[in-house]
């Protein structure tokens, strides 16, 4: 029992020390050893695609594969733009028709990146991507895929970055209901496939099935990126705000190719 208490105290001390800002950091170790860890996930992805290619088309040559890869990337980028921007632009356009001199929405430059690793224990909802400081990544850059918003970069290494997904409880995103234009905060619940909307007043005419997009408020996330759809609304008489659940459009269990939005 004394051994157990000793180890538990040691672990707790480590937590306290590393919990402080500027405290004990594992960043240096991670920077040096992430390459093999990242390679494991890349190996898995490559193995998967190798089997698919082998069964599908043995005759396919390298040039066609490369072309296919590029086309898929372009398609994913277009899908993202269509889902996240065009719907938002149409909705905005209807409201702005009556106004003169509105300024044109700026489109963003998308940098492709691949998921290199999921943490082995799934308590925190983060993923690692194949681009880092050397490729121009910075903290708080926004990460998306063809389906919508994935999260933002929270830690940078030379060739890897850690992305905090919107499912994580530490994630908070300013969002807006695309139909009703009600503003809210989207917060992760630490669970798969569900987030919650906070600070949405009871009088808000929100409905199940409404699409939720980033509001652009706060300046961290660009406006109009598709986040999810409202899946559940509950009105608690003892609370000031509605309890709203949102199902993200992104399938976080199958993240592969992502895009980082460059400012």
């Amino acid at each position: 029992m004394a051994y157990l208490i000793g180890f538990l105290i040691l672990s707790f001390v480590l937590m306290v020390v590393s919990g402080f800002e500027g405290g004990l950091s594992t960043r240096t170790v991670r920077e040096k050893i992430y390459l093999p860890v990242g390679s494991l996930h890349s190996a898995r992805l490559h193995l998967q695609s190798w089997f698919t290619e082998l069964s599908g088309s043995l005759q396919e040559n390298e040039k066609l594969r490369e072309e296919n890869r590029l086309l898929k990337r372009e398609l994913a980028e277009s899908e993202f733009r269509e889902k996240s921007y065009y719907q938002e632009i149409i909705a905005s356009n209807q409201r702005l028709k009556k106004m003169l001199g509105f300024k044109q929405e700026r489109t963003h430059q998308l940098l492709p990146a691949e998921v290199t690793a999921y943490p082995p224990r799934s308590f925190f909802k983060v993923v690692f991507i194949s681009k880092g400081e050397r490729e121009g990544m910075k903290r708080n850059m926004v990460v998306v895929n063809a389906e919508g918003l994935v999260g933002r970069i929270v830690e940078i290494y030379p060739h890897q970055s850690r992305v905090l997904t919107i499912l994580d409880e530490r994630s908070k995103v300013g969002v807006i209901d695309q139909r009703t234009r009600d503003l809210a905060i989207l917060k992760g619940k630490g669970l798969e496939g569900v987030c919650e909307l906070q600070y949405l007043l009871k009088k808000a005419p929100i409905e199940v099935g409404d699409e939720v997009v980033t509001s652009g408020v706060g300046g961290l996330f660009p406006k109009g990126i598709l986040v999810g759809t409202v899946s559940h609304i509950r009105e608690n008489p003892h609370r000031l705000f509605l309890e709203v659940e949102v199902t993200p459009t992104v399938n976080f269990g199958r993240l592969e190719e992502l895009f980082v939005i460059k400012e």
């Binding site: 157990l4 594992t26 999921y118 224990r121 308590f123 619940k189 269990g253």
Partner: protein, 160 residues
Amino acid sequence: MKKLAVFAILTTVAFVIQVAVVGGGGKWGRPDFLLILVVLWGWERGWKEGLLVGFAIGLINDIFFSPLLGLNAFSLSLIGYLSGEIRERVYQGNVVLLLVTMGVCSLLDGFTLSLLSFLFRLSSLVIGRLTYLVLLTALYNCGLAFLIFLARSLWRGKVY
């Protein structure tokens, strides 16, 4: 020395399977090979080694992946100790007891991580963690522990 080599190999295999084969999991959850390794090690070798192995694996995981150093080390050392302690009080060859231990350890792991994350302001939920994902992980872990137990028994020529 041999024991250390076995530990290094099994830990590497568990990490490789978890990161490269199991991947993200998604809404159906995923098994936790690191936890399975710690529980089985404690079950086979007793609380002292279970504690050491749990701490070592937890610390490795913390160094690479956790936002807080010591978080997984705390949880897994507790589980390694518990598994070894239970083993010393019951009949080791009983697969049902092993599965119960695996299930209890999986739930305890979820609870401990949840509580510590709450204490260090990494999450706000405590009870929410013990929902379907933790239960699913416990279920997968028990299934895999059963298969490993069966394979080991067949290997040794004994089936209980």
